[in-house]
Amino acid sequence: MALLEVRNLYSGYGKLQVLFNVSLKAEEKRITVVVGPNGAGKTTLLNSITGIATIYSGEVVFDGRPITKLPRHSIARQGVACVPQMGNIFANLTVEENLRIAGYLLPENEVRERFSEIYDMFPVLNDFRHRKAGTLSGGERRMLAIGMALARKPKILLLDEITTDLAPIYVKKVLDRIVELRDNLGLPIVLVEQHAVRALQIADKAYLLVSGNVRYEGDPQELLEHPEFSKLYLGVS
């Protein structure tokens, strides 16, 4: 059974409907990748899971329980961790305070144990430990946001365009780490990407989202050769 399941979801923001009858399954030990052009509704899909968007009908089930109507912080407490595309760090807190607060739901010492692991992955964060996160560059902020997700020991990880702004060496590092998380911890990961090819290479399952509709669901390799995918992405990237 899938750990996270979205069933026939219609959602949006207030009167603006964005998603139409979207269904998605994220299974344990699997990397699920959602690709699609800008404005397709990828972020809205994650926002519907984490309790930010308005859900008109349909259901989100996590770990066998419906979480459709729960407030945001309760959904987080169930173990759903999301690195949003925007606004994913606290600019007025220092780097270390950001990491500390990311592990708000865990015992303090357990969070601190994770710091070294995170600093190993992104040494820059260690150097800037006591700097306000607002002074970091775009790439460094993205690293901090990923670090914050790792500090949380979630049951599922939702990542929205995390490779944007990252230098190529870090893109590889981050994607390698995601594969590691799946293999070592069995963590299910939902990866949303506009620049799709690299993400699809590490994916176990793929979805193509266009104008709020699921156009493809299945094997990521096949999606790379799918006519609609080439139509959308050839010439784009």
Partner: protein, 293 residues
């Protein structure tokens, strides 16, 4: 003041009543049970903290839920303040009529302890107020930067949505802010009762200084508003003193206007508040200057 504003977007007029209640609690308890007024300052602080909670749960929370705008929130605290003010008047009437305590105007100065500083007789309140202020600021600062709950509070202030996504319940933060805000107001009221005359509307008068202080210092910053409060308070004394020596004693009747003048000047020159000054640079210049000497 700033604490409540930045967390719940609410200019908090209730602080006026909290201050005044602080005055009255210290006064009444001193009268009824004797001893020095200092014993009762913590009671006043706790009582006002409780008032903060009542305000939050009774008024502010519901309005925040309906996404009321800032003006509505501000007016609601003004309204609630008037209610509390009414109760305070009732309470003082009760003291006068039932307990025969002169509670319309009172002075607690005489109950202050004098301490001997090498032959110099000083009233304790100045020292106590200073120490309390330093301790309060240090405690607040440690709380906000060192404890996880404090950091969570700052996080929820900056970005409630992200804080929620991390599992922080914003409600906890609001409740805490109102309680601590009330606590500090009661504490100030309790201590101030040893410094100035107490009457039921005393809160409003002092609020003007606080409010001006917060605006001068920068309403978004706790340190800024403390600095601003200090500046406005000092400015008022010094200003009135200078004016009355050079212009004449009559000017001191206009004393409550001074904070407003300072506020106006500050807002015209530094609209973001004192905190917007490049303090880091100023400190550096200062240090370098010190070394050169």
């Amino acid at each position: 003041m700033s604490l409540v504003y930045i967390t719940t977007r609410t200019y908090n007029f209730v602080l006026a009543s909290m201050l005044a209640w602080g005055f009255y609690i210290v006064f009444t308890l001193t009268h009824l049970y004797g001893g020095t007024p200092y014993y009762y300052v913590p009671v006043a602080a706790l009582f006002s903290g409780l008032l903060g909670l009542i305000t939050y749960f009774g008024v502010n929370r519901r309005l925040l839920k309906t996404k009321a705008n800032e003006t509505t929130l501000m007016m609601s605290t003004l309204g609630f303040d008037l209610i509390l003010y009414g109760f305070l008047n009732v309470f003082s009437d009760y003291l006068v009529n039932v307990h025969k305590i002169p509670a319309k105007f009172f002075v607690l100065e005489t109950k202050d302890i004098t301490i001997d500083l090498g032959g110099l007789q000083v009233r304790a309140i100045g020292l106590v107020a200073l120490i309390t202020l330093v301790i309060a600021v240090m405690t607040l600062n440690t709380f906000l930067t060192k404890t996880r709950l404090g950091i969570a509070m700052r996080a929820a202030i900056e970005n409630p949505e992200l804080a929620g996504a991390l599992g922080i319940n914003p409600e906890v933060v609001y409740v805490l802010a109102w309680f601590v805000g009330g606590l500090l107001a009661g504490l100030s009221g309790g201590l101030l009762s040893l410094l100035t005359v107490g009457y039921t509307a005393v809160g409003m008068t002092i609020m003007v200084i606080f409010f001006a202080g917060a605006l001068v210092g920068g309403i978004y910053s706790i340190f800024g508003s403390l600095l601003g409060g200090l500046l406005v308070g000092l400015g008022e004394y010094v200003g009135v003193y200078l004016m009355s020596t050079y212009i004449g004693g009559w000017i001191s009747a206009y004393r409550p206007v001074f904070p407003l003048i300072i506020m106006a000047i500050a807002l015209l020159t530094l609209p973001e508040g004192l905190i917007s000054l490049p303090w880091g640079k100023l400190l550096k210049v200062w240090k370098i200057g010190g070394v050169k000497k």
